[in-house]
Amino acid sequence: MSAMDELKNQPLVEVRNLKKYFPIKKGLISRVVGHVRAVDDVSFAIRKGETFGLVGESGCGKSTLGRTILRLHHPTGGDVIFDGRSMNAMKSRDLRALRQEMQIIFQDPFGSLNPRFLIKDIIGEPLRVHTKASSKEIEERVAHLMSLVGLDPARRNQYPHEFSGGQRQRIGIARAIALNPKFIVADEAVSALDVSVQSQVINLLIKLQKELGLTFLFIAHGLNVVRHISDRIGVMYLGKMAEIGPSEELFRHPLHPYTAALLSSIPLPNPEIKRERIVLQGDVPSPANPPSGCRFHPRCPFAQERCKSEVPALTEVMPNRQVACHFPLVDKAMGIGGK
């Protein structure tokens, strides 16, 4: 492998043992009685130019993980190495400058835009904060960004409420790419959109990734969307990473029982297919009080003694396939997808 290839394969974002706990306070003087372990010792890496999909159900911590990587939450433990630089070692001034390189697209096209701001001010704000560009230069750049995401630049003097949901999401995307960042966290960026609009926005994201060389962390609960847009996928459960692998392989051949159950629950838009469904019992436990050992053991159809006491580590059991399970489903084919 040449030096150039080596460099290309160096991860852009490396997450090392990241933890984010939220204290639970009780009583008059708010003493801390416990912690919600939203992200509990997660490690993985995202390569440059890749789209890493992150899936999981409510309470798994995927949104918290995305925000902690961007330092919107201060990590309780662990570190994030961005482009070779440790974020823990950075001072607040460096962190602030780093914001130009990492951005976020939100889920809610209605709440993520200030209703009292004009579109050009919303999109231009990153430029106003980080560059010394004049207002005329900012306005030109805003017009350029708007046409890049498929909006009419002539509408830049309007307010967010005059746009549809899909268009507002495009405004959010334009804002995120305003400073040419390297890394974007898309937190359920298409989940709140109608199906016909979703496909438009997904196409836009893929197009922008190719044109601008972006790296995405795509957090979503729509598994079909994640599969379509991601190169690799990570599955989270109750604050821990259960499995990581390339999209198609993961879907066709999940190694973690939770992944298999998740995939089998998806209703497929094809009435001909009758699948055997793994129905999980009970509800997701609270992240404030996770089960001992493997977090999934109370609901796992394949749980054994060892699972109750020993926490499984995320290990590479097959090339490019990591799973945190004592008894991964190596020889069972329980997935969905083509041949």
Partner: protein
């Protein structure tokens, strides 16, 4: 069309929330009546020397206690021979000045404290809110007496004392608003961009909470005028030779049985001005409320019901 061509032509800015609110306000008859009355008083206050030839403080015992309608004195004179109409006119200056100054100052103080408290939360919030609680517990009348006794009663001191004892309502209001607003996703978005906290408070959040502040400020004007009148009535506020409606009321107290109109005129002025200000405040509140469900009049509802007969129940 290239991007640079489009940069030259942009759609005109659509009517912002202010213009829309303005239109709603203008259609409210009570609010507009209030505006006219207020403007009238402002006009009177500004052009006082032109409107009346008399000096409000000049004592003229020769012409004391003239009844209303006497020559040269439309409303008569009081017991010291001072023209009542003139005194009313010059009092307008005092009331308006006090009203607007106190409203402005208390809203400024309250907004800053409330914004900081609501946005940062935590111990900053706790400390500031306990401070608010303390301020609420202090008797403002007592403080006024104290200040005016220790440092002499001057116009400026009275405005200061009134301001320092009436900002708490705004602070709580703004704090409540900010507690809610800081959870908005656009705040998170701004933080992700790297916008500083100060910028978030004053650029992003303030304009989203300005409506209740404005309404509160308008109503504050009325309440400040009433407070000043009360203080002056008690002899703690405006002192002679300056005039104020409250002071006039105080003078009129002795003569209530003989010449009740001496109390009527200043009392009526206070009432009308404060009422006007309250109508404006109400009108602003209605105009600035974007989500108001339009109340369809009963008649129109019946008409629709008759037209669309299928589910006419």
């Amino acid at each position: 069309m290239s991007a640079s061509d489009s940069a030259l032509q942009a759609v005109k800015k659509s009517p912002g929330p202010w213009k829309i609110a303005g239109r709603k306000f203008v259609r409210n008859p009570y609010a507009m009546a209030g505006v006219f009355v207020l403007l009238f008083f402002v006009f009177v206050a500004i052009f006082a020397p032109i409107l009346t030839p008399y000096d409000p403080a000049k004592i003229d015992l020769m012409n004391a206690n003239l009844p209303a309608g006497s020559e040269g004195h439309l409303l008569g004179t009081d017991e010291l021979g001072r023209d009542i109409l003139t005194r009313l006119i010059y009092s307008t200056r005092v009331s308006l000045t006090v009203g607007f100054s106190v409203a402005l100052a208390s809203v400024l103080i309250g907004t800053v404290i409330g914004a900081i408290s609501g946005y940062f939360g935590g111990w900053i919030d706790t400390i500031l809110m306990r401070f608010v609680d303390v301020m609420y517990s202090l008797p403002s009348l007592f403080i006024n007496i104290l200040v005016l006794t220790l440092w002499g009663s001057s116009f400026g001191y009275m405005i200061m004392v009134l301001s320092f004892t009436s900002w708490m309502g705004v602070a709580r209001l703004v704090r409540g608003n900010f507690l809610q607003l800081r959870e908005m996703q656009y705040v998170e978005a701004a933080k992700a961009i790297g916008v500083s906290n100060v910028s978030i408070i004053f650029r992003h959040l303030l304009r989203n909470s300005i409506h209740p502040i404005i309404v509160y400020a308008t109503l504050m004007v009325g309440s400040a005028i009433l407070s000043e009148s009360a203080l002056s009535y008690l002899g703690l506020g405006i002192q002679a030779p300056q005039t104020s409606w409250g002071l006039m009321l105080s003078n009129a107290q002795e003569f209530m049985l003989i010449q009740p109109q001496l109390a009527l005129y200043p009392g009526l002025c206070i009432l009308v001005l404060v009422l006007a200000v309250n109508f404006i405040g109400d009108g602003l509140q209605n105009a600035l409320n974007p989500k108001e469900k339009k109340k369809i009049p009963m008649r129109r509802l019946q008409q629709w019901r008759n037209e669309y007969l299928k589910s006419a129940n």
